[in-house]
Symmetry: C2
Subunit: 432 residues, 2 copies
């Protein structure tokens, strides 16, 4: 006889209805794979009257989460409502009541994960979060299980579909940031308030989870240097392309000696690198592991069914343990002992692309190179771009590896000289 396992869903929105669709349409497939019948016993949402694109028995719906959280016959709770409160309280209650939890709530895990994961360990119940980064890309499972014996030296992730779409659109259509963002909104790839995405916050949330798995430490948002893409201009994209570089919003965790750099910012990468070909709303996570080598995982970074696919893979994993009557806490996350501290952004060393909009007075280039040299910064290449009537001359430079602090000091000095039409622009270059 096929065993039945009851699960509950909190949050009947976009991803929630995707999960309901899968559990309905793939019920037989999943049963054949795991010899368990997954029974969705209850769905909680504050709105239980609106129509969704999947029909469910009205009996399943409730506005009261306790009907799930306090039901002893429910073994697994899926939290897909989003937001910090009351999602956090629901997860805590679920764990305390002996239930495993699945969530796609990266903001909650990034902000409150230290507390939630501690409770999960204490209670011996899992918090699974495959869909919280890269939607349906099995990146969490790959890092945690597939690469279990590896140590990592870095993570480079394009993990925000909205930002990547905007940058790809700018490059492809040769249009401005605001035009590209408008197109993203029109196509449903950006929220009406897109700041979480384009300011790099969402990428930072996901980076926290990847760092937790790869390096065993739970960094906090304030540990991460975050710079968004709203200041990226089409001219920088064009100049970069002339230099064989593409601009991507990268989430970076990089081991340098015994320190770890953690940062999210627009980054120029060589066109030959696979990451530079990741277009539109796609995501890709590139990691360097000491045994399995350089790996890249690519797929759509968002979408109802993509995220739902990730949630259901968590569900199947947990169900196989529940089926066995098994007390099996999530695999322990182990601290990478070789990292002594987090490196602050002004201590990082990087190559940079710099653009100055020079008022065309003789000697500007001499002034620039003089100040850079005072700060110990050496120029790798310089291009003085087309000279227009208005006498504003774009000067584009690539500089050799320099300490961020020195570069910032140099640029501040230069920006005070009154020889530029606008503030200088600096974009980090990574070889990946």
């Amino acid at each position: 006889m096929i065993k039945k396992i009851n699960v509950g869903l909190i949050g009947f929105g976009n991803v929630g209805s995707g999960v309901v669709k899968i559990l309905k349409n793939r019920r037989a497939l999943l049963r054949d794979k795991i010899d368990v019948d997954i029974v969705l016993k209850k769905i909680c949402d504050k709105d239980i009257s609106s129509r969704r694109d999947i029909n469910v028995d009205r009996e399943l719906l409730t506005g009261n989460a306790d009907e799930i959280l306090n039901d002893p016959s429910i073994d697994i709770v899926m939290e897909l409502m989003g937001g910090i409160h009351p999602a956090k309280e629901f997860i805590i209650k679920a764990l305390r009541n002996g239930k495993h939890v699945i969530t796609a709530n990266k903001a909650l895990l990034a902000e409150e994960g230290a507390e939630l994961f501690a409770l999960s360990r204490e209670r011996g119940k899992a918090i699974c979060f495959e869909a919280s980064c890269g939607a349906g890309i099995p990146i969490i499972k790959s890092l945690r299980e597939g690469l279990v014996a590896n140590k990592f030296s870095n993570i480079y992730g394009i993990i925000n579909g909205t930002s990547n779409f905007v940058l790809s659109e700018m490059a492809e259509k040769d249009c401005s940031f605001s035009e590209a963002l408008k197109e993203a909104k029109r196509r449903g790839f950006a929220e009406s308030d897109p700041s979480l995405d384009i300011d790099g916050i969402d990428s930072a949330h996901k980076l926290i989870l990847l760092i937790y798995l790869c390096f065993g430490r739970f960094v906090s948002m304030k540990d991460i240097f975050i710079e968004g893409i709203s200041h990226i201009s089409i001219s920088d994209i064009n100049y970069a392309q002339e230099l064989g570089l593409e601009i991507k919003l990268l989430a970076i965790a990089k081991k340098v000696g015994d320190e770890l750099e953690v940062r999210v910012h627009p980054t120029m990468i060589p066109r030959e690198h696979l990451l530079s070909s990741v277009g539109g709303i796609f995501n890709a996570i590139h990691v360097d592991s000491d045994l399995a080598g350089e790996l890249l995982f690519y797929g759509p970074g968002a979408g109802q069914m993509c995220a739902a696919s990730g949630v259901v893979s968590d569900l199947v994993d947990l169900i196989q343990d529940v089926k066995a009557g098994l007390f099996k806490p999530t695999m322990n996350v182990v601290l990478d002992g070789s990292i002594r501290k987090l490196r602050r952004i002004d201590e990082i060393e990087s190559r940079y692309y710099i653009r100055f909009m020079a008022i065309d007075k003789p000697g500007v280039l001499a002034k620039i190179s003089g100040v850079l040299s005072t700060e110990g910064i050496s120029i790798a290449s310089v291009t003085q771009k087309e000279r227009k009537k208005q006498e504003i001359v774009p000067i584009v430079m690539i500089i050799h590896e320099a300490k961020e602090r020195n570069l910032r000091q140099a640029l501040e000095k230069l920006d005070r000289l009154n020889v530029f039409k606008e503030k200088s622009v600096a974009i980090r270059i990574e070889e990946v």
Copy 2:
């Protein structure tokens, strides 16, 4: 108290010693992650006297596999000896004696997998094979577990590092196949007899495993159309590049209506596609899934520690079940009911690149287009290349989608006309 679990290793070669290194050097890391101490109780190899790059206690070594297979204290056997016999007999004995099996032996699984997997199900013991395709890329786990709810429409894999190195080297160094192969041998990327790799056999072995996971059917070698890369000339690579295409040895499984195409052959793909950027010995597997969308997994396709990383991830999975005293057979592989039959190569439809080396008589182009048109084949583009003194004119064509059988008939007719210096060349183009 930390539980101990005994494992045995058969095959102390390259990958085997890699596994021993990990179990020795990462013993504490793994114990911290899974709360189990993995004890390598016995290593069997026919050669137990040669030195390896890892030291082991002489007591561990044996030349007699029965010391592992008949030891009731050993729960998991790793078969890393390769070859069909006696590897097959060892695996059968291990399963019959109640042990889980881990293998990286793609040739064995491809040839004898139907029988071995049936026995595994019957005995409720797993055969894990993460390292058998893509080395350390967690592709098996991703397809089986990470994408558990998905149905697949196709697989495109660069899954043989040797062939990919040879093709990349030809493209990069503008050299001949034999020069590139020589370089591959020099760098240890090709065996002294490289035919398994460059003839596409190894790719076909791995494709059988990927098809098993994605479509639930165990196809046999004779079901797969296999064409290697030894006939690829540098001029075809160059002409392809002029057309924005790269040549890769692709392993393809593609659902067309209710039929499945299964084939391995050199394939031209658009330069914009990520697969075209996979260089050197790297592998990449691209799948289209109905929920999680278009996914790509990239990493080194070979290497001692890469493969060992995959083996150890299998080991950790199994150990967690053994630890729990759990009877948990591998997740069932379920037949994709929507596939009615396998499509033969002469029934496939494809775009093609064709090259003729025409003896420069007037009217050759007219003859070619006449014959193609008789077979209902329509030309998308034609380029008549540089005219050399010796009066041999390369004519390069791209043809619109045509049935393979019709194309073959047309080329046979044309090759009999005595207007070409050498046999015509046809290479399939995939949009991916």
